[in-house]
Amino acid sequence: MSLHTTLRRTAASPIISQGTTATTFICTQCRHATLLRRPKRPYTFTQLITLSDGSTFTHRTTSPLPVYRSTRDTRNSLMWNPTSNKLRNMEDDEAGRLAAFRAKFGRNWDATAPAAEEGVEGEKEKEEARKAAAKEAEEEEDNLLDLISSFGQEEAESGKKKK
């Protein structure tokens, strides 16, 4: 049920400057037919969102792009990862220019930043350790490869000698 409200002004012409115009509300109850409008919804697509750490999820969106790759999201922003040491002194070195500069001229030029230095040094140590580990692994692999390769040849050589 809807209340149909009729607003009747007592003054014949509404004069705004007067400010107070007496209004009378005449409420008569009536029931008109209500049009049932079909709900209108925009077309939506299913989109796969790839976060910067590679995790994905799908959602419905009006954007027709099937896959959305985000470069900046909760996984690599400092506000959502306050303890991440990596994000705290993050520098944009996508092209490797800063690394190349450091390789050429050393790191003395940014020695003034002690807070950043520690992190960088830590990284350096880590890198060295990583390199050492990689070297060891390579050497081991070489030794194994030598064993494998020399195994058959030795036999063949011995066979030749026997002959």
């Binding site: 037919a33 049932l36 999820f57 419905r60």
Partner: protein
């Protein structure tokens, strides 16, 4: 007498076809249906005596021409529905009318909206981790036999110092007329969760300049939220912006429920919020003290939504609206709402007012 009688009975007992007609056909110019039926061959002659045993043989041409797929493809118009389907009346004519529309949850209703079609990430996270965390955090242990101290009634009675106090309605609380929501202890069945999200955008230029501002704002909000927006007229007069009450449509609002809301919230949280430049978070003092938190986004921040970014050229760059986003939760106090939202990942800054 006796000889003529049996012949009459015999004629009556024999089938009509055998007995010769009493009157000659030539004399009769009136046609009777019964006479016609007698002239026809018997219906039994149509029956095949060995129909089932023989087996049917289809002609080869008919078998070759039978291609239902091609026939269906060649059909231009759709076939009529095979069964009767109920169509809801177009108008609701009130509860006393004989033709009532079905409820909106009925698929045949005109108001039916199908869905939800997916279990959103936000919902799954809430179910699996956040709900149990909140339940643990809000647990208050009462030893057995504990009775909470009786509270004063929320509405004060009048002291009967005056005879006029009789039958007066109760007074509101001290220090203001606002009766705050009653916070019940949080148990398994009233864990706060996201109820709905309102995106509201007030476009002041819509009144001063053209309505294009409002159209663009509506399109932007719809693109962001997957929901059709509604426009609202101004209730107040702002002389500086040439806005007068009741005349100008100045605001667009999108109200998100259910699946749309969860998708929007996930998108806002995971993609948009981290990309906002120099954004400290949601202010800790925001909230209407009944569990609804509001924050605003500038136009350039709204432009960071992936839906607007994907065809940024569609929107006139200065017309992209800013908006206020209200997160309505089922929590009764701002403290609980903030607990829920921060568990979901909304950052808050500054002094937290609960």
């Amino acid at each position: 007498m006796a000889a003529s009688e049996p012949s009459r009975y015999l004629a009556r007992s024999l089938p009509r076809a055998i007995v010769p007609a009493a009157r000659s056909q030539g004399l009769c110019w009136r046609r009777h249906a019964s006479d016609q039926a007698a002239a026809k061959p018997s219906a039994l002659s149509d029956l095949e005596s060995d129909g089932l045993l023989k087996g049917t043989t289809t002609p080869v041409e008919a078998a070759k021409s039978f291609d239902p797929v091609a026939r269906a493809r060649a059909r231009k118009t759709q076939l009529p529905r095979s069964r009767y389907q109920f169509r809801s009346p177009k108008y609701d004519r009130g509860p006393l009318h004989p033709h009532r529309p079905p409820p909106p949850s009925d698929p045949s209703s005109r108001l039916f909206v199908p869905g939800p079609f997916s279990l959103s990430r936000v919902d799954q996270t809430h179910e699996s981790t956040i709900a149990s965390d909140i339940l643990t955090l809000c647990y208050v242990h009462n030893p057995p036999g504990f009775k909470p101290p009786p509270k004063a009634p929320r509405l004060r009675t009048w002291d009967d110092s005056s005879p006029y106090h009789k039958n007066r309605s109760l007074r509101g609380p001290r220090g203001g007329d606002v009766l705050r929501l009653l916070r019940k202890p949080i148990t398994f069945n009233n864990i706060p969760k996201l109820e709905r999200i309102t995106i509201h955008s007030y476009v002041k230029n819509a009144a001063k300049e053209n309505s294009g501002w409002l159209h663009v704002a509506g399109m932007a909000l719809q693109a962001i939220s997957n929901v059709k927006v509604t426009t609202y007229r101004s209730k107040t007069s702002v002389a500086k912006w040439y806005i007068s009450p009741g005349r100008d449509a100045v605001a667009a609002k999108a109200e998100l429920h259910g699946e749309d809301m969860e998708h929007f919230f996930g998108k806002l949280l995971d993609i948009v919020m981290p990309r906002l430049k120099d954004w400290p978070g949601v202010k800790g003092t925001s909230g209407d003290s009944s569990g609804n938190i509001t924050f605003g986004l500038e136009p350039e921040q709204v432009a960071l939504f992936p839906e607007i970014e994907v065809n940024y050229d569609m929107y006139p760059p200065q017309m992209i609206p800013g908006c206020h986003i209200t997160l309505h939760t089922t929590a009764k106090t701002d403290k609980d709402a903030r607990l829920l939202l921060s568990a979901m990942g909304v950052p808050f800054y500054g002094k937290l007012v609960d």
